[in-house]
Amino acid sequence: MSTFTAIGEDREIDQEEFTPGVEPQATWCPGCGDFGVLKALKGAMPEVGRTPDETLLVTGIGCSGKLSSYFESYGFHSIHGRALPVARAAKLANPGLEVIAAGGDGDGYGIGGNHFMHTARENHDMTYIVFNNEIFGLTKGQTSPTSPKGHESKTQPHGSAKDPVRPMSLSLASGASYVARTAAVNPRQAQEILVEAIQHDGFAHIDFLTQCPTWNKDAKEYVPYTDIQDSDEFDLDTGDRREAAETMYEAESRLYEGEVLTGRFYHDPDRPSYGEEKRAQGDVPEEPVAERYFEDGEWERTADRLIDRHT
């Protein structure tokens, strides 16, 4: 009997398994885009064939961070901006887990920006969903790094003088190997993209547009949107970094002009994930480190391996 019998279990999975018994109803506001993420994620899991017990969902702090309360799996509701470092270590500790990280635009592109950049660079094998509602939701509506320039809020009474961040461009420049944007109003595309992202072996970043009807009434509800894969204007080869970069730039700019471009922007299936790189160079063992603690077997001693050097 293996230690983690949930991992790799081969059985039919019902999407209802991902609805918790204890907190089945989210506390998000009526009309909140966050419901869309939850739904798409629940839909994606049976498709990728992973169960609640073999999935670890690590979230940050924000309305978005509560995803782990409303999604049934192993969950880690961490601190603001730090979902990625918690998540990537769990994956290194036990590569058999399906690791998903999620948080808000403030969480991921604001306070957590550096981890975002470095996790993408290292290409950890995980999915990162950023709930981009262009606002700090949970703290009651302050300007966020994706708020449009000129955005007025309690902390920016004259409107923000800052250009918004370009999340996909940063992701690509940092090294993410899968980059997409979808929207809560677009459930079918959202679920498809989540499936691809989870299946991707590397860092998959999804900028997930989620409307916040409570604090960001002026913001577009992200409709009408254009799926760049369906659009005549774009003929993007998602394997081509240059084209991807240009298309992202377009999409990021046009978002603030009222045009919502979604879809897959970049996909490099060949870049090895960080775990693969490390295992390949013998830096970490092939067997999941976490398993050893549950198995019988010899444990190395410094007395045998290291003390000699000191005599």
């Binding site: 230690t3 949930a6 017990d53 049934e72 509701h77 270590a89 001693r301 007395a303």
Partner: protein, 631 residues
Amino acid sequence: MTDQTLMWRIAGGSGDGIDSTSQNFAKALMRSGLNVFTHRHYPSRIRGGHTYVEVRASNEPVRSRGDGFNFLLALGDSFARSEQDGAYYGNEKVKPLTESLADLNEGGVVLYDTGFFEEADIAEIRLEERAEENGWHVYPMDLRGLAREHGREVMRNTAGVGAAAALLGQDTGYFEELVREAMSGEVMEANLTILEMAYEQASEFEFSHDLRVPTGGHDTDQALMSGSNAIAYAALDSGCRFIAGYPMTPWTDVFTIMSQNLSEFGGVAEQVEDEIAAASLAIGASHAGVKSMSGSSGGGFALMSEPLGLAEMTETPLVLVEAMRAGPSTGMPTKTEQADLEHVLYTSQGDSNRVVFAPGNLEEAYEQTRTAFQVAYDYQIPAILLYDQKLGGEMRNVDVDFFDREPDPSLGATLTEEEISEAAHHESGKFERYRHDPDDGVSPRSVPGQTGGRFLASGNEHNAVGHISEDPDNRKAQMDRRVRKLERVRAELDDSEHSHQTHHGPADADLGMLVWGSQQDTVFEAVDRLNAAGHEVKALGVSDMLPYPETEVRGFLESVRECVVVEMNATGQFRGLTQKELGQYGEKLASLLKYDGEAFEPGEVVEGFESSIDGGQPAAGNMRFVPAAGD
């Protein structure tokens, strides 16, 4: 003991190989049968700047640096800046001589490199006159020339060692052995030649000094290592298989040793973007079922403040090591201090819920690191090992047998799938990982990937399955449970056979000293000297910072009339902690403080203690004496 020990100092510039030379010297003496102890002094600078290492060696145990030193090998700083008008750094070139001479004991021996220090330099510093005044025995030798002639200039260190061996009456056998082990080919040959030549050349001096290397013999095999080695090795023996970190002096040593060995031990080492990430990764890995650690120094540990609180609230087992250096802020990165105690005890919002040990020496560092892992995983609580630049960096010989231990792969209060299936679940199927009821406060955990163990770990207050809850009754129950764990840890530590606290000196003495961390063995040496000089004094070295060993310390304080708390910081943090925890004894407790970056010498403690029982005279040198509150 001072008189029978060799206190050998090698001085030069950073980047001149002083460190490795001194290690070889110490190892050779250890192999010759002596006990050795090193003390390092170096600037926060990569090349140049006065640096030295002292090796104290004796056939009796040595657990501290000595008072001053009695043999100087002055090599010269090859990266010294040239003097310049208006610059306050002065003549860096002669510092290895001038600055060292200031601490050289009367009757000491000076061996200096005439290939480096020119006649004008020697004249400028009035070496001859001062030697006469202090009874120094001076031996000038062209080490650099010798090295150049038979090899390369950098080998002047070898020449210095050879000459020193001759002057100290030690044959070069052990040194040769070490050269042969570490090198090969031409480089080895050249070094051997230089060692030999220097030995011979120095033997030709007419010795005016009596100082010789003592002879000794060890009953058991000895290993030479630093406190950082001991900490890292204890982590490995504890089954730690994950470390994440970011370099910072002096914590880097532990991080490096772990990084160099973990993959061989089947683990993972990650150097990451910053310390917030480092602590967060350690939490993530531990959550996923791997025994994990992180650590840092100063500002790096400050950045771990928030993740530390997350570990407390999610009850994720975690070991952090904190290596103190002189603060605040960047402070003096390569200098030692004990001023992070309060920071480590209390940083992170909310009532702190952690365990903190501050070992007093190398063996304690090993033991207490192991206890830290055990407590962290048994009680699902962060355990912090607090040490300092001094303890991390000083090298000592230790019985090889000391390390003959069983590894500890236990994940503590973690269930197997079988146990999970029998454990309590909420009716919804979620595992009750945070039940209120365990008596000892520990509600066992599951690990992601285990069938049936699903729960939510949250930094928000949460209920039994981990879901966010702001219910006041649940809140109180959860807080009480978490606080309770510390009481149990205290009880377990009190019950254990070996207390982390160490008593030294005559039990019936009615004067006391309290000390913690790296200054312990120095104070113990001072206690021995004080008793030898007719005082009646004993000391207690405290390692358990939190939970505080109330009974033991209370017992000690009740047994003495007055007590001096010796520590390396400016505000008497451990004295404050003691007063906080015991709520009394303020009128008995005086402080002997030092915070200039240099550890206490035993003689300073003797002096400081004597001035204190004299009714609180101001302490000499850079020490500060703060009398008891009642005075």
